[in-house]
Symmetry: C2
Subunit: 275 residues, 2 copies
Protein backbone atom coordinates (compact mmCIF):
# COMPACT_ATOMS: atom_id res chain seq x y z
CA UNK A 1 0.00 0.00 0.00
CA UNK A 2 1.37 3.40 -0.99
CA UNK A 3 0.48 6.47 1.07
CA UNK A 4 1.73 9.92 0.06
CA UNK A 5 2.07 12.76 2.54
CA UNK A 6 2.03 16.24 1.00
CA UNK A 7 3.59 18.52 3.60
CA UNK A 8 6.14 17.23 6.11
CA UNK A 9 5.54 19.75 8.88
CA UNK A 10 4.48 18.87 12.41
CA UNK A 11 1.28 17.06 11.37
CA UNK A 12 2.45 15.46 8.12
CA UNK A 13 5.74 14.15 9.50
CA UNK A 14 4.01 12.89 12.65
CA UNK A 15 1.58 10.91 10.46
CA UNK A 16 4.51 9.52 8.45
CA UNK A 17 6.26 8.45 11.64
CA UNK A 18 3.07 6.90 13.03
CA UNK A 19 2.42 4.94 9.84
CA UNK A 20 5.95 3.57 9.61
CA UNK A 21 5.88 -0.14 8.83
CA UNK A 22 2.17 -0.08 7.92
CA UNK A 23 2.57 1.34 4.39
CA UNK A 24 5.16 2.58 1.92
CA UNK A 25 5.35 6.31 2.64
CA UNK A 26 6.21 8.93 0.03
CA UNK A 27 6.81 12.45 1.30
CA UNK A 28 6.38 15.63 -0.74
CA UNK A 29 7.59 18.95 0.63
CA UNK A 30 8.84 22.14 -1.00
CA UNK A 31 11.69 22.31 1.47
CA UNK A 32 14.48 20.06 0.18
CA UNK A 33 16.29 19.87 3.53
CA UNK A 34 13.12 18.63 5.23
CA UNK A 35 12.72 15.90 2.61
CA UNK A 36 16.39 15.01 3.00
CA UNK A 37 16.08 14.75 6.75
CA UNK A 38 12.91 12.61 6.49
CA UNK A 39 14.70 10.25 4.07
CA UNK A 40 17.76 10.05 6.33
CA UNK A 41 15.57 9.40 9.35
CA UNK A 42 13.77 6.61 7.47
CA UNK A 43 10.45 8.41 8.02
CA UNK A 44 9.69 8.25 4.27
CA UNK A 45 10.97 5.83 1.64
CA UNK A 46 10.66 8.22 -1.32
CA UNK A 47 10.46 11.99 -1.39
CA UNK A 48 10.91 15.24 -3.22
CA UNK A 49 9.21 18.50 -4.15
CA UNK A 50 7.24 17.27 -7.20
CA UNK A 51 3.54 16.42 -6.88
CA UNK A 52 4.02 13.78 -9.59
CA UNK A 53 5.56 11.60 -6.86
CA UNK A 54 1.98 11.02 -5.67
CA UNK A 55 1.10 8.92 -8.74
CA UNK A 56 0.17 5.34 -7.94
CA UNK A 57 -0.87 6.18 -4.38
CA UNK A 58 -3.71 4.37 -2.63
CA UNK A 59 -4.12 7.35 -0.35
CA UNK A 60 -2.90 10.95 -0.39
CA UNK A 61 -2.87 12.96 2.83
CA UNK A 62 -2.56 16.71 2.41
CA UNK A 63 -1.01 18.28 5.52
CA UNK A 64 -0.33 21.84 4.35
CA UNK A 65 -1.64 25.10 5.89
CA UNK A 66 -5.41 25.51 5.65
CA UNK A 67 -5.16 28.30 3.08
CA UNK A 68 -3.20 26.08 0.65
CA UNK A 69 -5.16 22.81 0.84
CA UNK A 70 -7.65 23.36 -1.99
CA UNK A 71 -5.03 24.66 -4.38
CA UNK A 72 -2.56 21.88 -3.52
CA UNK A 73 -5.13 19.14 -4.12
CA UNK A 74 -6.10 20.78 -7.41
CA UNK A 75 -2.51 20.61 -8.58
CA UNK A 76 -2.06 16.99 -7.40
CA UNK A 77 -5.19 15.58 -9.10
CA UNK A 78 -3.61 15.17 -12.57
CA UNK A 79 -1.23 12.59 -11.05
CA UNK A 80 -3.81 10.54 -9.15
CA UNK A 81 -5.45 7.26 -10.15
CA UNK A 82 -9.23 7.27 -10.27
CA UNK A 83 -9.62 5.37 -6.99
CA UNK A 84 -7.04 7.25 -4.91
CA UNK A 85 -8.54 8.33 -1.61
CA UNK A 86 -7.60 11.90 -0.67
CA UNK A 87 -7.87 13.46 2.77
CA UNK A 88 -6.50 16.55 4.47
CA UNK A 89 -5.66 17.56 8.04
CA UNK A 90 -6.95 21.15 8.12
CA UNK A 91 -8.52 22.76 11.17
CA UNK A 92 -11.46 24.09 9.13
CA UNK A 93 -13.64 21.89 6.98
CA UNK A 94 -16.77 23.37 5.33
CA UNK A 95 -15.12 25.41 2.58
CA UNK A 96 -12.46 22.78 1.88
CA UNK A 97 -14.98 19.92 1.60
CA UNK A 98 -17.27 22.00 -0.63
CA UNK A 99 -14.40 22.94 -2.94
CA UNK A 100 -12.83 19.48 -3.28
CA UNK A 101 -16.19 17.73 -3.68
CA UNK A 102 -16.45 19.51 -7.02
CA UNK A 103 -13.14 18.17 -8.33
CA UNK A 104 -12.45 14.80 -6.65
CA UNK A 105 -15.11 12.20 -5.74
CA UNK A 106 -12.91 10.16 -3.38
CA UNK A 107 -12.16 13.01 -0.97
CA UNK A 108 -13.08 13.12 2.68
CA UNK A 109 -11.96 15.78 5.15
CA UNK A 110 -10.11 15.00 8.38
CA UNK A 111 -9.17 17.13 11.37
CA UNK A 112 -6.92 15.56 14.00
CA UNK A 113 -7.36 17.41 17.31
CA UNK A 114 -3.68 17.30 18.10
CA UNK A 115 -0.80 19.67 17.79
CA UNK A 116 1.87 21.62 19.58
CA UNK A 117 2.81 25.29 19.59
CA UNK A 118 6.09 24.52 17.81
CA UNK A 119 5.51 23.78 14.14
CA UNK A 120 7.73 21.96 11.68
CA UNK A 121 9.32 18.61 11.01
CA UNK A 122 11.65 18.97 14.01
CA UNK A 123 8.67 18.87 16.40
CA UNK A 124 7.00 15.82 14.82
CA UNK A 125 6.54 12.66 16.84
CA UNK A 126 5.07 9.21 16.13
CA UNK A 127 2.71 9.37 19.13
CA UNK A 128 1.28 12.85 18.44
CA UNK A 129 -2.15 11.33 17.70
CA UNK A 130 -2.06 8.71 20.39
CA UNK A 131 -5.47 8.80 22.12
CA UNK A 132 -6.31 12.08 20.36
CA UNK A 133 -9.59 12.46 18.50
CA UNK A 134 -9.76 12.88 14.73
CA UNK A 135 -12.97 14.30 13.28
CA UNK A 136 -13.83 12.89 9.84
CA UNK A 137 -16.23 15.05 7.82
CA UNK A 138 -17.96 13.23 4.93
CA UNK A 139 -20.45 15.02 2.71
CA UNK A 140 -23.34 13.64 0.65
CA UNK A 141 -20.90 13.60 -2.30
CA UNK A 142 -18.34 11.36 -0.58
CA UNK A 143 -17.81 8.07 -2.48
CA UNK A 144 -18.63 4.90 -0.52
CA UNK A 145 -15.67 3.25 1.17
CA UNK A 146 -13.68 6.45 1.71
CA UNK A 147 -14.83 6.79 5.29
CA UNK A 148 -13.58 3.33 6.27
CA UNK A 149 -10.22 3.79 4.52
CA UNK A 150 -9.52 7.11 6.17
CA UNK A 151 -10.81 5.98 9.55
CA UNK A 152 -8.48 2.95 9.44
CA UNK A 153 -5.50 5.17 8.58
CA UNK A 154 -6.17 7.39 11.63
CA UNK A 155 -6.59 4.35 13.84
CA UNK A 156 -3.19 3.13 12.62
CA UNK A 157 -1.88 6.48 13.88
CA UNK A 158 -3.33 5.70 17.31
CA UNK A 159 -6.18 8.20 16.99
CA UNK A 160 -9.80 7.82 17.99
CA UNK A 161 -12.23 8.92 15.27
CA UNK A 162 -15.69 10.41 15.03
CA UNK A 163 -17.87 11.50 12.11
CA UNK A 164 -19.30 15.01 11.87
CA UNK A 165 -20.95 17.27 9.31
CA UNK A 166 -18.35 19.75 7.94
CA UNK A 167 -20.45 22.82 8.77
CA UNK A 168 -21.16 21.67 12.32
CA UNK A 169 -17.45 20.95 12.69
CA UNK A 170 -16.59 24.55 11.84
CA UNK A 171 -19.24 26.01 14.15
CA UNK A 172 -18.00 23.89 17.03
CA UNK A 173 -14.30 24.53 16.41
CA UNK A 174 -14.92 28.28 16.31
CA UNK A 175 -16.05 28.02 19.93
CA UNK A 176 -13.65 25.47 21.37
CA UNK A 177 -10.49 26.23 19.43
CA UNK A 178 -10.50 29.24 17.11
CA UNK A 179 -11.86 31.80 19.59
CA UNK A 180 -9.59 30.72 22.48
CA UNK A 181 -6.59 31.06 20.17
CA UNK A 182 -7.73 34.45 18.90
CA UNK A 183 -8.42 35.76 22.42
CA UNK A 184 -5.10 34.49 23.71
CA UNK A 185 -3.25 36.07 20.77
CA UNK A 186 -4.94 39.44 21.42
CA UNK A 187 -4.08 39.31 25.14
CA UNK A 188 -0.46 39.76 24.07
CA UNK A 189 -1.33 43.32 23.02
CA UNK A 190 -1.18 44.16 26.75
CA UNK A 191 1.88 42.13 27.66
CA UNK A 192 4.70 43.90 25.86
CA UNK A 193 5.72 45.73 29.04
CA UNK A 194 5.68 42.62 31.22
CA UNK A 195 9.11 41.46 30.07
CA UNK A 196 10.93 43.17 32.95
CA UNK A 197 8.72 41.44 35.53
CA UNK A 198 8.92 37.93 34.13
CA UNK A 199 9.70 36.45 37.56
CA UNK A 200 6.23 37.48 38.74
CA UNK A 201 4.26 35.61 36.08
CA UNK A 202 2.10 32.93 37.66
CA UNK A 203 0.69 29.65 36.35
CA UNK A 204 -2.56 31.35 35.34
CA UNK A 205 -0.85 33.73 32.94
CA UNK A 206 1.36 30.98 31.57
CA UNK A 207 -1.55 28.66 30.77
CA UNK A 208 -3.87 31.39 29.50
CA UNK A 209 -1.28 32.69 27.04
CA UNK A 210 0.32 29.38 25.97
CA UNK A 211 -1.61 29.19 22.68
CA UNK A 212 -0.59 32.77 21.81
CA UNK A 213 2.75 31.27 20.78
CA UNK A 214 1.05 29.24 18.03
CA UNK A 215 2.02 29.44 14.36
CA UNK A 216 0.81 32.80 12.93
CA UNK A 217 0.46 31.56 9.32
CA UNK A 218 -1.60 28.55 10.33
CA UNK A 219 -3.91 30.71 12.44
CA UNK A 220 -4.20 33.48 9.84
CA UNK A 221 -5.57 30.85 7.46
CA UNK A 222 -7.93 29.36 10.02
CA UNK A 223 -9.37 32.75 11.03
CA UNK A 224 -9.92 33.71 7.38
CA UNK A 225 -11.42 30.34 6.38
CA UNK A 226 -13.81 30.21 9.30
CA UNK A 227 -14.63 33.93 9.38
CA UNK A 228 -18.34 33.17 8.97
CA UNK A 229 -18.46 31.47 12.36
CA UNK A 230 -15.76 33.49 14.12
CA UNK A 231 -16.96 37.04 13.40
CA UNK A 232 -20.32 36.67 15.21
CA UNK A 233 -18.50 35.11 18.18
CA UNK A 234 -16.08 38.04 18.36
CA UNK A 235 -19.05 40.43 18.39
CA UNK A 236 -20.72 38.36 21.10
CA UNK A 237 -17.53 38.27 23.16
CA UNK A 238 -17.04 42.04 22.88
CA UNK A 239 -20.63 42.53 24.04
CA UNK A 240 -20.16 40.23 27.06
CA UNK A 241 -16.92 42.02 27.91
CA UNK A 242 -18.76 45.34 27.74
CA UNK A 243 -21.43 44.05 30.14
CA UNK A 244 -18.82 42.90 32.66
CA UNK A 245 -16.97 46.18 32.23
CA UNK A 246 -20.10 48.15 33.10
CA UNK A 247 -20.82 46.00 36.17
CA UNK A 248 -17.28 46.71 37.41
CA UNK A 249 -17.43 50.43 36.63
CA UNK A 250 -20.79 50.82 38.35
CA UNK A 251 -19.73 48.72 41.34
CA UNK A 252 -22.65 46.30 40.91
CA UNK A 253 -21.08 43.62 43.11
CA UNK A 254 -23.95 41.16 43.37
CA UNK A 255 -24.57 41.05 39.61
CA UNK A 256 -20.83 40.74 39.01
CA UNK A 257 -20.62 37.84 41.43
CA UNK A 258 -23.64 36.15 39.84
CA UNK A 259 -22.10 36.47 36.38
CA UNK A 260 -18.72 35.10 37.48
CA UNK A 261 -20.46 32.27 39.31
CA UNK A 262 -22.34 31.31 36.15
CA UNK A 263 -19.08 31.31 34.14
CA UNK A 264 -17.21 29.26 36.74
CA UNK A 265 -20.09 26.78 36.82
CA UNK A 266 -19.82 26.23 33.04
CA UNK A 267 -16.08 25.56 33.34
CA UNK A 268 -16.58 23.18 36.26
CA UNK A 269 -19.37 21.46 34.34
CA UNK A 270 -16.93 20.70 31.52
CA UNK A 271 -14.06 19.37 33.59
CA UNK A 272 -15.40 18.71 37.09
CA UNK A 273 -12.77 19.40 39.71
CA UNK A 274 -9.89 18.21 37.56
CA UNK A 275 -8.19 20.98 35.64
Amino acid sequence: MKITLIGLGLIGASIAKALKGKARITGIDQDASTVGRALTDGVISHGGAELSLASGSDMVIVAVPVGSIVETIGRAIPYLDDGTVVTDTGSTKAHIVRSIDEIWPSFIGSHPIAGKENPGYASSQADLFSSAMTIITPSPATRAGCIENVRRMWEWCGSLTCIMDPQLHDELMAVISHMPHLLSFVSMSMAGSVQIHRELLGAGFRDFTRIAASDPVMWRDIFLENAGNILPLIDQYREELKKLRDLIEQGRGQELEDTLTAYARIRRGLYGDSR
Copy 2:
Protein backbone atom coordinates in the same frame (compact mmCIF):
# COMPACT_ATOMS: atom_id res chain seq x y z
CA MET B 1 6.32 34.06 69.07
CA LYS B 2 2.58 34.26 68.48
CA ILE B 3 1.22 34.60 64.96
CA THR B 4 -2.51 34.92 64.34
CA LEU B 5 -4.11 33.98 61.04
CA ILE B 6 -7.45 35.63 60.35
CA GLY B 7 -9.12 33.51 57.67
CA LEU B 8 -8.37 29.79 57.33
CA GLY B 9 -9.15 29.38 53.63
CA LEU B 10 -6.69 28.15 51.01
CA ILE B 11 -4.12 30.91 51.67
CA GLY B 12 -4.52 31.33 55.43
CA ALA B 13 -4.49 27.61 56.23
CA SER B 14 -1.54 27.04 53.87
CA ILE B 15 0.43 29.73 55.76
CA ALA B 16 -0.52 28.11 59.08
CA LYS B 17 0.68 24.72 57.79
CA ALA B 18 3.91 26.22 56.42
CA LEU B 19 4.68 28.01 59.72
CA LYS B 20 4.07 24.93 61.86
CA GLY B 21 6.87 24.54 64.41
CA LYS B 22 8.19 28.07 63.77
CA ALA B 23 5.60 29.93 65.88
CA ARG B 24 2.52 29.43 68.03
CA ILE B 25 -0.33 29.76 65.55
CA THR B 26 -3.79 31.04 66.45
CA GLY B 27 -6.49 30.71 63.81
CA ILE B 28 -9.59 32.87 63.53
CA ASP B 29 -12.37 31.92 61.14
CA GLN B 30 -16.11 32.51 61.13
CA ASP B 31 -16.70 28.90 60.15
CA ALA B 32 -16.62 26.80 63.32
CA SER B 33 -16.12 23.51 61.48
CA THR B 34 -13.03 24.88 59.71
CA VAL B 35 -11.56 25.98 63.05
CA GLY B 36 -12.39 22.58 64.51
CA ARG B 37 -10.71 20.77 61.66
CA ALA B 38 -7.59 22.99 61.89
CA LEU B 39 -7.36 22.30 65.62
CA THR B 40 -7.81 18.55 65.07
CA ASP B 41 -5.19 18.57 62.31
CA GLY B 42 -2.76 20.40 64.63
CA VAL B 43 -2.50 23.22 62.08
CA ILE B 44 -3.35 25.81 64.77
CA SER B 45 -2.89 25.59 68.55
CA HIS B 46 -5.74 27.97 69.44
CA GLY B 47 -8.74 29.05 67.42
CA GLY B 48 -12.24 30.41 67.25
CA ALA B 49 -14.45 33.06 65.63
CA GLU B 50 -13.60 35.98 67.94
CA LEU B 51 -11.08 38.63 66.85
CA SER B 52 -10.12 39.08 70.51
CA LEU B 53 -8.09 35.87 70.11
CA ALA B 54 -5.53 38.01 68.25
CA SER B 55 -4.51 39.87 71.41
CA GLY B 56 -0.87 39.39 72.40
CA SER B 57 0.17 38.54 68.82
CA ASP B 58 3.58 39.50 67.47
CA MET B 59 2.13 39.32 63.96
CA VAL B 60 -1.38 39.17 62.50
CA ILE B 61 -1.88 37.90 58.95
CA VAL B 62 -5.24 38.73 57.40
CA ALA B 63 -6.13 36.19 54.71
CA VAL B 64 -9.75 37.06 53.95
CA PRO B 65 -11.25 38.06 50.58
CA VAL B 66 -9.91 41.36 49.21
CA GLY B 67 -13.21 43.15 49.79
CA SER B 68 -13.19 42.35 53.53
CA ILE B 69 -9.55 43.10 54.45
CA VAL B 70 -9.84 46.75 55.45
CA GLU B 71 -12.96 46.20 57.53
CA THR B 72 -11.51 43.08 59.21
CA ILE B 73 -8.31 44.86 60.24
CA GLY B 74 -10.36 47.78 61.54
CA ARG B 75 -12.31 45.44 63.80
CA ALA B 76 -9.14 43.62 64.97
CA ILE B 77 -7.17 46.73 65.94
CA PRO B 78 -8.77 47.19 69.40
CA TYR B 79 -7.25 43.85 70.43
CA LEU B 80 -3.71 44.45 69.15
CA ASP B 81 -0.64 45.58 71.10
CA ASP B 82 1.07 48.72 69.86
CA GLY B 83 3.95 46.86 68.20
CA THR B 84 1.95 44.10 66.51
CA VAL B 85 2.93 43.79 62.87
CA VAL B 86 -0.07 43.36 60.56
CA THR B 87 0.01 42.11 56.98
CA ASP B 88 -2.57 40.80 54.52
CA THR B 89 -2.51 38.45 51.52
CA GLY B 90 -4.80 40.28 49.09
CA SER B 91 -4.31 40.33 45.32
CA THR B 92 -4.75 44.11 45.16
CA LYS B 93 -2.71 46.52 47.23
CA ALA B 94 -3.06 50.29 46.61
CA HIS B 95 -6.46 50.89 48.21
CA ILE B 96 -5.79 48.49 51.10
CA VAL B 97 -2.39 50.02 51.94
CA ARG B 98 -3.82 53.55 51.73
CA SER B 99 -6.72 52.66 54.03
CA ILE B 100 -4.74 50.77 56.68
CA ASP B 101 -1.91 53.32 56.75
CA GLU B 102 -4.42 55.70 58.28
CA ILE B 103 -5.32 53.39 61.16
CA TRP B 104 -2.32 51.19 61.91
CA PRO B 105 1.36 52.25 61.67
CA SER B 106 2.83 48.73 61.70
CA PHE B 107 1.02 47.49 58.60
CA ILE B 108 2.66 46.32 55.40
CA GLY B 109 0.83 44.71 52.47
CA SER B 110 1.75 41.29 51.04
CA HIS B 111 0.65 39.43 47.94
CA PRO B 112 1.81 35.84 47.56
CA ILE B 113 1.69 34.86 43.86
CA ALA B 114 0.35 31.42 44.62
CA GLY B 115 -3.02 29.78 44.60
CA LYS B 116 -5.21 27.12 43.13
CA GLU B 117 -8.62 27.18 41.50
CA ASN B 118 -10.13 25.28 44.42
CA PRO B 119 -10.56 27.56 47.43
CA GLY B 120 -10.99 26.62 51.08
CA TYR B 121 -9.23 24.90 53.93
CA ALA B 122 -9.53 21.49 52.26
CA SER B 123 -7.22 22.62 49.43
CA SER B 124 -4.54 24.12 51.67
CA GLN B 125 -1.04 22.69 51.66
CA ALA B 126 2.19 23.48 53.51
CA ASP B 127 4.21 23.83 50.30
CA LEU B 128 1.79 26.17 48.48
CA PHE B 129 4.36 29.01 48.65
CA SER B 130 7.41 26.90 48.01
CA SER B 131 9.51 28.76 45.42
CA ALA B 132 6.62 31.15 44.74
CA MET B 133 7.16 34.91 44.80
CA THR B 134 5.55 37.15 47.41
CA ILE B 135 5.37 40.85 46.66
CA ILE B 136 5.71 43.07 49.76
CA THR B 137 4.34 46.59 49.32
CA PRO B 138 5.60 49.11 51.90
CA SER B 139 4.52 52.73 51.77
CA PRO B 140 6.26 55.88 53.10
CA ALA B 141 4.10 55.46 56.24
CA THR B 142 5.36 51.95 57.02
CA ARG B 143 7.11 51.75 60.41
CA ALA B 144 10.78 50.66 60.31
CA GLY B 145 11.35 46.96 60.93
CA CYS B 146 8.02 45.79 59.52
CA ILE B 147 9.54 44.88 56.17
CA GLU B 148 12.11 42.54 57.69
CA ASN B 149 9.57 40.86 59.98
CA VAL B 150 7.12 40.18 57.18
CA ARG B 151 9.84 39.15 54.74
CA ARG B 152 11.20 36.62 57.26
CA MET B 153 7.70 35.17 57.76
CA TRP B 154 7.28 34.61 54.01
CA GLU B 155 10.72 33.06 53.78
CA TRP B 156 9.73 30.65 56.57
CA CYS B 157 6.83 29.70 54.27
CA GLY B 158 9.35 28.88 51.54
CA SER B 159 8.51 31.93 49.43
CA LEU B 160 10.85 34.27 47.60
CA THR B 161 10.11 37.95 48.26
CA CYS B 162 10.40 41.25 46.43
CA ILE B 163 9.51 44.83 47.33
CA MET B 164 7.22 46.94 45.13
CA ASP B 165 5.25 50.16 45.31
CA PRO B 166 1.54 49.33 45.97
CA GLN B 167 0.29 51.33 42.95
CA LEU B 168 2.81 49.75 40.59
CA HIS B 169 1.82 46.36 41.97
CA ASP B 170 -1.81 46.96 41.02
CA GLU B 171 -0.96 48.20 37.53
CA LEU B 172 1.21 45.17 36.87
CA MET B 173 -1.24 42.65 38.32
CA ALA B 174 -4.04 44.07 36.17
CA VAL B 175 -2.03 42.99 33.13
CA ILE B 176 -0.55 39.68 34.22
CA SER B 177 -3.32 38.32 36.42
CA HIS B 178 -6.57 40.25 36.60
CA MET B 179 -7.16 40.64 32.85
CA PRO B 180 -6.31 37.00 31.99
CA HIS B 181 -8.79 35.86 34.65
CA LEU B 182 -11.46 38.25 33.42
CA LEU B 183 -10.99 37.24 29.77
CA SER B 184 -11.03 33.56 30.63
CA PHE B 185 -14.20 33.97 32.69
CA VAL B 186 -15.93 35.79 29.81
CA SER B 187 -14.92 33.08 27.32
CA MET B 188 -17.31 30.80 29.18
CA SER B 189 -20.18 32.89 27.78
CA MET B 190 -19.66 30.97 24.51
CA ALA B 191 -19.07 27.53 25.99
CA GLY B 192 -22.45 26.60 27.43
CA SER B 193 -23.29 24.50 24.37
CA VAL B 194 -19.97 22.67 24.32
CA GLN B 195 -21.01 20.22 27.04
CA ILE B 196 -22.22 17.59 24.54
CA HIS B 197 -18.88 17.63 22.70
CA ARG B 198 -16.59 17.39 25.71
CA GLU B 199 -14.56 14.58 24.14
CA LEU B 200 -13.39 17.03 21.45
CA LEU B 201 -11.89 19.62 23.80
CA GLY B 202 -8.16 19.92 23.25
CA ALA B 203 -5.30 21.00 25.49
CA GLY B 204 -5.54 24.59 24.22
CA PHE B 205 -9.11 25.01 25.41
CA ARG B 206 -8.36 23.30 28.72
CA ASP B 207 -5.42 25.58 29.52
CA PHE B 208 -7.02 28.77 28.25
CA THR B 209 -10.15 28.26 30.36
CA ARG B 210 -8.56 26.76 33.49
CA ILE B 211 -8.68 30.04 35.46
CA ALA B 212 -12.36 30.50 34.58
CA ALA B 213 -13.04 27.98 37.35
CA SER B 214 -11.58 30.35 39.95
CA ASP B 215 -13.49 31.56 43.02
CA PRO B 216 -16.17 34.09 41.90
CA VAL B 217 -16.28 36.02 45.21
CA MET B 218 -12.51 36.45 45.32
CA TRP B 219 -12.47 37.71 41.75
CA ARG B 220 -15.50 39.97 42.16
CA ASP B 221 -13.57 41.75 44.92
CA ILE B 222 -10.36 41.97 42.90
CA PHE B 223 -12.10 43.37 39.81
CA LEU B 224 -13.91 46.00 41.91
CA GLU B 225 -10.84 46.97 43.96
CA ASN B 226 -8.59 47.33 40.93
CA ALA B 227 -11.21 48.83 38.61
CA GLY B 228 -9.04 51.88 38.01
CA ASN B 229 -6.40 49.79 36.27
CA ILE B 230 -8.67 47.11 34.79
CA LEU B 231 -11.26 49.30 33.04
CA PRO B 232 -8.77 50.98 30.66
CA LEU B 233 -7.29 47.57 29.83
CA ILE B 234 -10.74 46.18 28.99
CA ASP B 235 -11.30 49.13 26.66
CA GLN B 236 -7.90 48.57 25.07
CA TYR B 237 -8.57 44.85 24.66
CA ARG B 238 -11.97 45.47 23.04
CA GLU B 239 -10.31 47.89 20.62
CA GLU B 240 -7.60 45.37 19.69
CA LEU B 241 -10.23 42.69 19.21
CA LYS B 242 -12.14 45.04 16.94
CA LYS B 243 -9.03 45.65 14.84
CA LEU B 244 -8.40 41.93 14.42
CA ARG B 245 -12.07 41.39 13.65
CA ASP B 246 -11.93 43.94 10.85
CA LEU B 247 -8.77 42.40 9.38
CA ILE B 248 -10.55 39.01 9.28
CA GLU B 249 -13.78 40.41 7.85
CA GLN B 250 -11.94 42.31 5.14
CA GLY B 251 -9.66 39.38 4.31
CA ARG B 252 -6.49 41.43 4.90
CA GLY B 253 -4.26 38.36 5.18
CA GLN B 254 -0.85 40.00 5.30
CA GLU B 255 -1.78 42.46 8.05
CA LEU B 256 -3.48 39.67 9.98
CA GLU B 257 -0.37 37.53 9.73
CA ASP B 258 1.84 40.46 10.80
CA THR B 259 -0.35 41.12 13.83
CA LEU B 260 -0.40 37.47 14.91
CA THR B 261 3.35 37.26 14.38
CA ALA B 262 3.89 40.25 16.66
CA TYR B 263 1.68 38.67 19.35
CA ALA B 264 3.41 35.28 19.11
CA ARG B 265 6.78 37.02 19.36
CA ILE B 266 5.78 38.69 22.64
CA ARG B 267 4.71 35.32 24.10
CA ARG B 268 7.90 33.63 22.93
CA GLY B 269 9.91 36.54 24.34
CA LEU B 270 8.40 35.88 27.77
CA TYR B 271 8.91 32.14 27.90
CA GLY B 272 11.28 31.21 25.10
CA ASP B 273 10.44 27.83 23.64
CA SER B 274 9.32 26.37 26.95
CA ARG B 275 5.60 26.65 27.59
